[in-house]
């Protein structure tokens, strides 16, 4: 068991390293000069030279990467040229918003996926099942940004129920906060819900075919108890893994959804970093998002190993 976890950790390390390399060098490939951007209106050659030295930009790229990665390991991601604040602080400030958005989308996704997937599996090859299948396909096909736009059109502009965008922090009241988060959460969660629903359905079908279910049925365990206690519990194990992979989708989707709904989260930040050519911020955001993805999947794998005794730890 511990050997397995250790092994997973060891695989994650080179990947995290690779992420840092890619984030660093891709950003270096973006045309433009960091110091120029940093100084902006205060540009002058002497100051630029001082800054280049300070940030080691007069050194070779490899040395620069070395310097950067060392400070990253110490928790220092550099200073944003846009706001002059430490990148790590900006990321931490914005993390809760993206986190909340992600949690709401996952909750929404599970709320539709599990009942719908289970029912579809139970009523296999009936109109209910086909309906669920269609929802599954539709959910992964509809662009989240269009869904978001449509919700604004209907719920904000037409019905005036919800604000069309903007963010109210939790500290201003849960209800006020939820009002700004519910539409983005649904827009982002729909596709995750569709994928999870398909997963739940097929995994449930598999479980229903297992011997122990047939046994339980033979023993006279009532149907609903059987499904909810034995079936679903086992069926949900692979669903957890799917959610881990979907975390990547959620992080990416948050870029566009946060933009539409003006939520100051990590996704919007990444976009701002790109449009403003804020290199250290972009590097930091890329590193942060990709590492988050790796770590979430690592966690999911470990949880999976813990809850599923069938896994082989070789």
């Amino acid at each position: 068991m511990f050997a397995y976890i250790l092994r997973r950790l060891l695989i994650a390390i080179p990947v995290l390293f690779g992420i840092s390399v890619l984030a660093f060098f891709m950003v270096r490939l973006v045309p433009g000069d960091t110091v120029t951007a940093m100084l902006g209106t205060n540009y002058n050659e002497a100051q630029a030279e001082i800054l280049r030295q300070k940030y080691g930009l007069d050194q070779s790229l490899l040395v620069q990467y070395g310097i950067w990665i060392m400070s990253v390991l110490k928790g220092d991601l550099g200073i944003s040229s846009l706001t002059n604040e430490p990148v790590i602080e900006i990321l931490i400030n914005r993390l809760p918003i993206t986190l909340e958005l992600t949690v709401i989308s996952i909750l929404f996704a599970l709320l539709i996926a599990i009942p719908l997937g289970t029912i579809a599996a139970l009523k296999r090859n009936t109109p209910v099942d086909y309906g669920a299948s269609f929802f599954g396909m539709f959910g992964i096909s509809v662009p989240n940004f269009w869904l978001g736009t449509l919700m604004i059109l209907y719920f904000s502009l037409h019905l005036s129920w919800l604000p069309s965008s903007g963010f109210v922090p939790l500290s201003d009241g849960i209800w006020m906060n939820l009002k700004t988060m519910i539409m983005p959460g649904i827009a982002l969660g729909t596709s995750v819900g569709a994928v999870t629903m398909r997963m739940t359905r097929s995994s449930m079908l598999e479980v229903l075919g297992e011997e122990y279910m047939k046994m339980a049925k033979a023993k006279g365990v009532t149907n609903s108890r059987l499904i909810w206690k034995h079936g679903l519990r086992n069926a949900l194990v692979p669903v957890v893994t799917v959610l881990g992979i979907q975390a990547g989708y959620l992080l990416g989707g948050s870029i566009i959804i946060e933009q539409i709904f003006s939520l100051p989260g990590i996704g919007q930040l990444a976009l701002q970093a790109i449009t403003n050519r804020d290199y250290s911020l972009l590097q930091g955001a890329m590193l942060f998002i990709a590492s988050a993805f790796v770590l979430i999947n690592l966690a999911v794998d470990i949880i999976y190993a813990l809850i599923n005794p069938k896994i082989r730890y070789s």
Binding site: P31, G32, T36, A37, L39, G40, T41, N42, Y43, N44, E45, L82, T83, N84, E85, I152, S156, L157, S160, P163, S164, S165, G166, F167, P169, I260, S262, P264, Q268, I274, T275, N276, R277
Partner: protein, 525 residues
Amino acid sequence: MKRLVGLFGVVLLLLLAACSGNQGSTSENEEKPNPNDQLESTGEPIEGGKLTIVDLNDAQGLDPHSETNAQSMHYIENMYNTLFKYKEGTYGEIEGDLVEEYEISEDGKVYTFTLHEGVKFHNGDDLTSKDVKYSIERIVEQLVRAPQFEDVESIETPDDKTVIVNLKKPVAPFLTFLAYPMNAIVNQTVVEENGGKLDNADAGSGPFQLVHWKKDQEMVLDKFTDYFKEGLPYLDQVTWKAVPDETSRTTAIRNKEIDIILQLSPKDIQLLSKSEDLTVEPVTGTYWEYIGLNVTAGPLKEKAVRQAIATAIDREAMNKSVKFGQATILTGGPIPEGHWADAKLDTYSKSDIEKAKSLLKEAGYEDGFNITLKVGQNKAQVDAAQVVKQQLQPIGIDVEILQQEDSIFFDALGKKDFEMSIVGWVGFVDPDEFLYNIFHTEEVWNQQGYSNPEVDRLLEEGRETADQDERFEIYKKAQSIIVDEAPMVFLYANQHASAIQKGVHGFDVNPTVSTKSLENTWIDR
């Protein structure tokens, strides 16, 4: 070096222009009742209350001397004072702010200012003539607006209340420069406490003081109780929010979540005018948009080609589809109607495809050519680019639109790395501010690479001439040459409009986009 600095300056100033886009303009300004009369006639000011005001984007920083965009200016100007300020309800006039009395010598080279008594900074320090001297020197050091003070020879401070500025030569718009809200007087002690930077600090003496600024969320200002203007401000608190999305801004003001929206788009002017709970106030703006033609290379080197483009463009149609017909088209120079320096030229009165074709032929381009048009993220300008492309097709010019991220776009403009561009410029107040920086040879913001000795001479003359009538003639002549040679195709001057919740009084929608009138604003509800 200075030139390069300026390039970045223009990048940011144009950014401000781009950000503050989406306004329209009207030619009926003078016929409208003065909004102030209207608002102030509703009764005695009431003290107290909180006000929420919304702008398009968040500020970049809070340092008055190094920031350049309109959003930063709005945050900053309410925390600081300037020596002079724009007179509310007017366009182009100024009055004293920190200055109680002033004197200008006969030769126009010595300015003597007497400051108000008992002005305090937010930290309790007294504001003295030394702070004024320090601030002007700091503005020059920070480079962004150094050109405005390049003719300052020396500053004397004979006593705490008196400042004497000696100029090398007369500078006609000097007081206007001093009224620019970002040329604020800062507290030296606070600057030094913050390591020379004011990006997140408050070193002001203005009507409101900084409580907190959470980037991209809100900026909260509290009433400064020791403000030197007796009884002001009325409001207890002002909250600024940046809401880039037009729809959510209009929804929020309808739902009474906010009190004022700045910089309404033409579409929203139309939409919100219908609401009974809101006052929508449009005034002639100083923000105008143009097609920039890089005169240094390619077909655009030819004057006739540039004239052909200026002739082919149908500004009326463009105004209609891009600005809902709410801007004022510019068929002559950039200074709009209603300004004393409006030259009333009507060179390109309407689109004339035949004439444009013959001009192209004259230049040897009768078969047309391909060209790239760069544009940033500003929606109205992206829209305008699409119209330009359509309008130039009939004369054989095939335009390819290249939309870039703002930072890249403005950088390219500064480096003259473009053929055609669509962007805007905030003229502000003095004709010098409208023209000098962008048309004078080698001047830092002359992105088109335009150079004409005659224009240079006129612009220099205008800068040193005090008499308004003489200046009118000078600028008229300069504008007619510029319009004829067409390094820019002037499109339209925008309207500047705000939506204000009923019950909010005393807020002045100023062509300069300044929001300093918040110190006189009060709420009755």
